[in-house]
Structures are given as C-alpha cells and as structure tokens.
Symmetry: C2
Subunit: 575 residues, 2 copies
C-alpha cells in the first residue's frame, strides 16, 4: 500500500471494512489445531470464531510456557496511539519470523461502538476478524456479564422487597445495574415506584457493563471454581448494622456462575494474516484493571512461543495494573514490554497544540517538527521509567503514520537510545506483519533476554502507602491528598482483612497527573483521592482521583445512525 | 420406565437433568445434513447447537413443502398441560414412523427460568438438548433483542436530550426499556435525574425482553430486509403536535437490524431422540402473538415431512394468534392442529378444586373421578370448536400422567368422539417417541386429509369488529365493552392506515373469559377492553382486557438461589 493510499485508509477508516472483506478466513478449527488445542476443547461459534473450553488449559499445561509480552503506550492523544494495531501487527511479525504467537485482547464494549468511535478491532492490515461479530455481541460474553450482574441486582431488590435476612439497608445498596450501551438517562434514577407490589422505592442507576465488577472478576478468575468464589465475595451493600452483605449471602453467586459458564471460555479468532487472536473479557481501564482475561493468557502461553497482550491506556495506568493486579492474580511473569509511541503524540506532549476530545487532531500536528518531538519526550522517558520500575526494559514501537517525517522518527530513536532503549518503526497498519518485522525481532530478543520482573509494592504494604507509591513513583506526584474519611475507610478495610489487596487508581488517562490538561511529565502536583471503593470479588481496592464516568452518553449524531444494511444485507457504517 | 419411576420423575423434575445427561448428542452438522440444509448455511454455536443462515431458505425453497402442524391446548391449569413435551414427543413419534419431522419452539425467557419455574425444554423423555444452553442465553438472541430495543430507547432519550427533530414530547414516549430478568423494582421509575448532562427527567420503566415489540418483529419477519422495514415502522412516541414518531425517524432502525443479524438465524438443536428442533424467538403470549419464528417454520417445512410448532396458552389465545397473526404474516397454511389435554386439567375445569398459582396442584385432583372429567368437558369442547372455527379438525392429545385412571382417559375419548374428534393417549414423557406413536399416526392422517383453513376475520374488517369477532366467536363473550376513548382510538388508527392489521387480545390465559376464576366454558359475560395499543412494526393492534404484567417479580425463594455448580463444575438446580 502506498503512503498515499495509507493516508486515505487512515482518513477514511471505512476502508478497514474493504480490507477485511478481501480476506478469506481460515476455518477456526485450523487455527486452534496449529496452537495444539485438543479438538474436543474447540467449540465453533459461527464462522471464524470458537470458544476454547478450559479443559484446554489442563491439556496444554505440560507443554513449555511461551514468552509473555505486554503492549502499553506513552500517555495517548484522545484518539489513541494504536496499542491494539501494534499488538496485532507484532504477532503477525512474530509469525513471519517463524514463531507461533497469539494476541490477547479485550472484547470491545458495544456502547462506544454504537456511540462515538465505530469498531475496535485494529485497523488497516493489522485487524482481527470478523470485525462485525467482534464489535457487536461477539459470542455474548458481555451480555452474560450483564445478566449475571443484573440478576444479583434484581435479587438484592427482591431481598429488600421480601425483607429477607440479612436485612439490607436500602440507602446503603452499592450494587448498580448495568447495560452495554451509552445511555445517560439511566445514570441516576429513582426506582421501585408504582405501589406496594413493585419493590422498595430507592435511588439507583446504571453503568456500562464494562464497568461491572463481574467483568473484572471474569477477567481475573483462573477457573470456574475461582470464578464462583470471587462472585460470592462481591459486596452489594450494608445491612442495618453497617456490616457488608455479599452476593453469597443474597444466594446469587451460584446462579451468577452458571450464567457465566460459557463466558469464561476464551474466544479464539484470527488476524488478517491468520495469526491466532484471543479476545476475552473487557473490564474498564479506570475503575478496574483494564486487561483481558487470565485464562486466555494461560492458554496462549502454553500453546505457542509468544502471547502479546494489550493493557489499557498509558503505562502509568494499564501496564501498572497488568503488573500489579493481573500478574499478581495469575502468578504469570512477563518477559517483555512494548511501549507504543507516535510522532503526533510526542508533538502533542510538547503542549503546543490545541486538541479537543471528539474532534479531529489539528493540522498543526502534521507539520515537520523534530523539536516538538523532543519537547514532548519527557512523557516517553517517564513512561519508559514506569515500565523499568517493574524490572523490564521496554522496546519502543513507533507506530508509523503517513504524516511522519524521518527527522521526527530519528528524534524518537535518539531519545530512547539516550536511556538505553531500542526503538523500532513499525508499519503494521499499512504493511501488516511485514511492516512489523524489525519490531518483532527486537521484541523477540528482549523477551529472550528477559528481565527482572518485580511488583511495585508488596501485598502487605498498607493500602494508603500503596496508593502513595503508585502516585509518587509512577505518576510523578509529590504526594497524595486523601479526602476526609478516606484514610479511616482504608484502615477499616485493613482490619476487615482486605489489607493485602492491590490498589487501582481511577484517574484521567490523558495525563500522567490527575489533570487531563497537564501534558508531558508534570511535576509539582499532588494526587487528590476523593473516595475509595472495594471490589472484594475482583480483589482490589480502587481510589477515585478524578471525575470518572461509568456510563457514557451519546452525542447528537451517534455512530448508530450511520449503521445499516445495504440491499444485499451487508452491514454498512461499521469500521 | 415404570409408572412409579415416572411419578417420581414428574414429582422430582431434577431427574430431567439425569435423563438428559445420559444421552450422547449427535453432531449438530449431522442433524442439519439429514434435513438437507446445505453445509455452508450451518454455523455451529457450541456443542449441539447451530444457527442456520437464511440462505438455507432459498436453498430449500425448491423442495416440496411438508405438513404444518400446530400444537395448542385446552385452557391450562397454572403449571400447564404439556404442549411443549407433546410437540417434542410428537416429532419423536413421527420420526419413529419414518418421517422427517422438526419441532419449532419459542426460546424460553431467562427471567422465569431464574425466577419460578426452572427450565422450559420439555421433560422426561421428550426434551430438547442441551437444556442448560437453551434455558440460559442459548445463542444470545434474546440479548440481541434487548440490545436492539434498548439502543432505540437510548437514542430516544438522546433525541430528547439534544432536542433533535422531530421534537419528541417527553410525556408521550411509549418506548420502555427491557431486560431478560424478573425485576419488579424496574417496573416504574423516574430517570434522567442527576443534572443537565444526564438527560431529561421523565417517567419510564422496564419490561421483560419477551414483551418487546422487537421480539414480535423478529418472530414475524421473513427476511433481513423485512426485519429492517418492520423495525423502521416501530412507533416510539408522539411529537409535540401529537403525530407518531418512528424508529426510522430516530435513525435507529438500521443499527437495530445490524444488531439482530445473527438473531434472525434460527437455532437448530435436537431432541433426546435426535429429532431436529428449531428454537427461535420468544414473544409474549398476551400482549404479543406468542409463537416462534416464521423463518424457522419456512426452513423446517421445506426440509422435511412435518413441522410441529407450539402456540402459547390455550386455543383461544396462542392458536388464534397462530392462525390470524402468524399465518397471515407468513402466508403458510396449517394442515393439522393438536389440542393437548390432561385428566387433571379436565377435572380442574369442573370447578371442584382449589388451585392456587405457584403452589402444587391439590391432591384431590389425583383421585379417580370420570364424572369430574365430564364436568370439565365444556372447556375441551369449546376449544375444539375454537380450532374448528379456523377450518381444522383437531386431534386431541391426552398427555398421560401416572395419576390418570383408565376411566378418566376413556371419558375424554368419549367426549371427543361425541363431536367427531379423535383423541389419543400419549406417553411421550415416560416413553419418548415410542409413547407418542398413536398420536403421531393420528396427526399424520389428519394432516394428510388436511382441512379447509380460514382466518377468523378478513383483514378489511374494522378493528372493533375484529375484537368483537374473537371475543364472541372464540371466548364465548356476549359482547365487548370498550372503555371510553377506545373506539375513537381504533377509528383514528383506521384513518391512519392501520385498519388492515390483525388484533391481539391480552387477557388472562387461565380462563376462556377475562376472569381467571371462571373455569369450563363461561357464558353470560362481556369482555372489557380497557385500552388499545399499536405494534406498528410487528403489525398488530393489541387490546388490554385484563391486568397484564409485562415485568414479573421474583418470589421470596427464587429458583436462582438453588442454581449452582458442583465440585466438578456441573450445573445443579436447573430442570
């Protein structure tokens, strides 16, 4: 594809669809077979999609473990820097080098797909197929999470209605309902109206399903029994004496597990170049850990030479949780990390450009300016340091755009080299795996060399200290300001036995700091923690350090209005 | 199976699960192959389940059409008389006679499965498998209906929020939200609270997904293009001038269609005896027509000798809609009808027993009493007459229970014979297809003889007259009392071009009348029509003649509390 054609593809992303349609999928059984997954563990779910039964984990456990690679990024611009395409391109590159490599990704939420951004399956010549199924329903896992979550909610209100024991305080119910759509009108509501047969009137609301603790549980569970145990621990509210009430006490955990039985099986698909892709679970990247499932990684690691998995947002967010929450839960040790950067994001972090979320990036970002790249370099260096804080030396992947200039790419290479990091230009969007060969070689070497992986904090560190460690060591804050009551709340949880949990800090992903307007690597600021919450089932405490939306809204012209079928029944308007 | 064992099986329905587990499923591709469905139209969705692409309809269209059989019943007792098991047993019996026969059923709603009744996949030796998947999610069709429905709802509120044209009146929004759970606390709510960024405050509520007009549309559409057209016609509310606003005007119909693309493909499964089963769509039987999908029937009819389909509730309800709504929409002509009766229901209609919904049937119903059977016979005779009103002479299927006495079965046979109707005892629950051979022979003969099928009313009859025709001719009412404004409303729709639509009367299914306490064949009563509503997308007007719940609640000990996994990960508590 010529640079001109690529420029067009990137400016008219509908072309992703025509690229995808030109590819003939391989039978998914063939993809599974190449991974060595036993045939009886492969359950096709429509063309090109299969669920892998967890018996595959047992069957593959004897085989040697492959290398575990996480793809993260510098602090992104609003449209993102291409972690997904890089992860996909990288496995395609590794495959061209003769390796068996699987990409492990989150399932995209349907709300944003129908709202603002269109699809989320990669782009250009680094896509996972079939995009229509991935973006809409896939095999129904998100719906199953929603059903399990909302069953618990219905049982909580039923518990109130019939005044069952333990007696819940209706003012202290913390379990919202969820839906996989952007629906702002459901954020805040008063329900249980109508009369004495229609429940107990109380305040409630909906979040998008990706924000459900059940989604985080699905991503972190390593077996059906573990899933059952975690669901039982979920706290739904307080009883009249102020003591927590769990899903186990409501009697819902067994049914929730049964509703999630199919959803716990990872979904196997393929990239445009027929590399295996496991798309499984999609927890939020702010109030939850934002990583795909542990079971998918387990299967992929014993089924080939590499698993490449993407962690949401920048290295301060997704990678930090990958290391300290996901790897702690799984016991898996990562071998290498990739830090995705773009010329445009480097320039953006110079602070010299006005970028408005939801609007196209300004044309000024396209003009050649290696100086601006260097000015934005503080962010890259800080995020490199954030990965190193966990004992891994990252490989920098420069995700190529047609508007890049050689001088700018060189400036990135020089910056990385100045701190001993290798940076490779990757043309996976325009050229597929062929364009990612240099990156793949660098990653393979880094993984072979391995690292000295370590957690950022030990489990036994007090919860307040864990938050302070992340804020000061990774975000570059001078300290943490806890709102009144927050320290006491954290100490109370420590007394209740939750002190060993990791923490998850919900802040903006648009800055290393808690202020989205502060670019580069801000210093001289303190992290404000307004509130803390406990995801006892998923197994982490999360701290709110910013205004986090858990239910998006639609704009005045949602993507859904452009989605339709043509006369032949083909889907149009999805990309 | 001995009568004692059967008695136990019926009183301990958990045994359904052990019967089911003892059967080895055939590969679903094999079932499809025997139907002559081209391999490329068969999309496996996990073990023992496939979706059939609608290209199967075109591929099979050249083949001769099989016989079309509807299974209905007398007015049921609260636990039902076994239409589903009879339909399943009948195809198993037809298969033993050497025919290719497919059973076409609705997908059970998950709300009741998790609420009161456990599973809905037949029972004993007449079941469809795998029961766990059928009862929970299946292939996700109900979730897709919910997503399409709720996308439209979110877009309606977004339309209000951004004050888009045409300007909806927030007090006149008629499009609720849906969820596939029993959740009474969501029946009535005030939403859009929170502030200026959180939508427009207004009254709203949730119904169970089976009550969605989208579900009725899915069941009645005969192609993707027809689905798209019907969804566009759905009315969501009124604008400021009082004119109806459609999903097309909101810009949602295309996206809804895309969300339903997979859901429009029927689900192929198998019975315990490996007879094909198409389980597809599950509209309510009161405010909607309560029949499975037209596309499934089309495929089944051209893929074998018989399609046996079940219509919800008694012949006055499900069969009437099957004939006058579903067959009118499909253009398909039924060849035979089966009327399911039980000894216990006959005695129940004597009015001599106290039956409380939700509680076990009283022991008094088990004592031998052919006189009570005869006393309850008025209901059977009226429902036979209701089928005959459509030009078909039904076969009566006496669904055998271990507590039946020969004298009682004989009394039913004599009653049926007295009006020229054949009645056959069917032991399909205890003996599978072998137990349904006599019934299968009778049905095959009746279908061969055919009938003189006719609609109960012509399309051009005024809407009020259609309601009166059903009420007087089928229900036995002396007339209809329309509440103030209802006649004017119906006339207004006639002027707006909806006069040709069929009507659907939402009344209790527990009586031929609108009063659930009146058993047998009540006379001397009038049908009260409180309100009428328009399902412009599905294509019918519905009249509310009773207190119809579209969102069930959970009882104090929901079935979900007994659902769990055992140590091996097997599901327990589902039956």
């Amino acid at each position: 594809m010529s640079p001109q054609a690529t420029e067009q593809a990137l400016s008219r992303p509908a072309d992703n669809l025509s690229i995808a349609r030109a590819v003939r999928l391989w039978p998914i059984e063939e993809i599974a077979h190449r991974l060595g997954v036993p045939g009886e563990a492969v359950e096709p779910y429509g063309r090109g999609i299969a669920k892998l039964d967890l018996t595959a984990m047992t069957a593959l456990a004897e085989r040697p473990r492959g290398r575990y690679v996480v793809v993260t990024s510098m602090t992104p611009t609003p449209p993102g820097e291409g972690k997904t395409t890089t992860a996909i391109g990288l496995v395609q590159g590794l495959q061209r080098l003769g390796h068996t490599a699987t990409v492990a990704l989150r399932q995209p939420s349907m709300g944003p797909t129908l709202g603002l951004k269109g699809g989320a399956t990669g782009g250009g010549y680094s896509q996972v197929l079939p995009m229509e199924r991935i973006n809409l329903h896939l095999t129904g896992d998100i719906h199953a999470v929603g059903a399990a979550h909302n069953l618990l909610a219905a049982m909580v209100d039923n518990h109130l209605h019939h005044r069952l024991e333990p007696e819940l305080d209706p003012r202290e119910v913390r379990w919202q309902r969820v839906i996989d759509l952007n629906d702002r009108a459901l954020r805040h509501l008063v329900m249980g109206l109508g009369g004495r047969g229609d429940g107990i009137p109380r305040q409630g609301g909906f979040e998008i399903t990706a924000a459900s603790e059940v989604m985080a549980v699905l991503a972190l569970a390593d077996s059906l029994v573990d899933l059952r145990r975690r669901l039982g621990r979920v706290i739904v509210g307080l009883d009249r004496s102020g003591a927590p009430v769990t899903a186990e006490q409501i009697g819902a955990a067994g049914a929730m597990t049964v509703l999630l039985k199919e959803a716990l099986k990872p979904n196997l698909l393929q990239t445009l170049e027929h590399a295996p892709a496991l798309i499984h679970a999609g927890p939020f990247g702010n109030i939850a850990h934002g990583n795909s499932s542990i079971v998918a990684d387990h299967i992929g690691l014993h089924a080939g030479d590499f698993v490449v998995t993407e962690a949401g947002f920048g290295a301060d967010m997704g990678a930090e949780r990958f290391f300290n929450i996901k790897c702690r839960a799984s016991g898996l040790v990562p071998d290498a990390a990739v830090l995705v950067v773009t010329v445009r994001a480097m320039k953006y972090h110079s602070g010299r450009h006005q970028v408005v979320p939801g609007q196209p990036l300004p044309a000024s970002l396209l003009a050649e300016s290696p100086d601006e790249v260097r000015e934005g370099g503080a962010n890259l260096l800080k995020q490199i340091d954030n990965v190193r804080a966990h004992g891994l030396n990252p490989v920098v992947a420069i995700n190529a755009f047609p508007s890049d200039h050689a001088s700018e790419v060189d400036a990135i290479r020089e910056l990385a080299a100045s701190v001993g990091v290798r940076a490779e230009l990757s043309r996976h969007v325009s050229d597929g795996g062929e364009g990612a060969l240099a990156l793949a070689e660098a990653v393979a070497e880094a993984a072979e060399a391995g690292g000295d992986f370590r957690f950022l904090y030990p489990a036994e560190m007090p919860l307040t200290a864990k938050i302070e460690r992340i804020a000061t060591r990774l975000y570059g804050a001078e300290g943490v300001d806890f709102a009144p009551g927050v320290r006491a709340r954290l100490e109370a949880w420590e007394h209740e036995g939750y002190g060993d949990l990791p923490v998850c800090i919900a802040k903006t992903h648009m800055s290393l700091s808690s202020d989205p307007a502060r670019l580069g690597a801000p210093t001289g600021w303190r992290l404000p923690v307004r509130e803390v919450r406990l995801s006892a089932g998923a197994g982490f405490v999360y701290a709110l350090a910013g205004d986090i939306r858990t239910m998006p809204g639609l704009n005045a012209s949602p993507a859904a209005t452009r989605l339709d079928i043509d006369d032949e029944g083909n889907t149009v308007g999805l990309y």
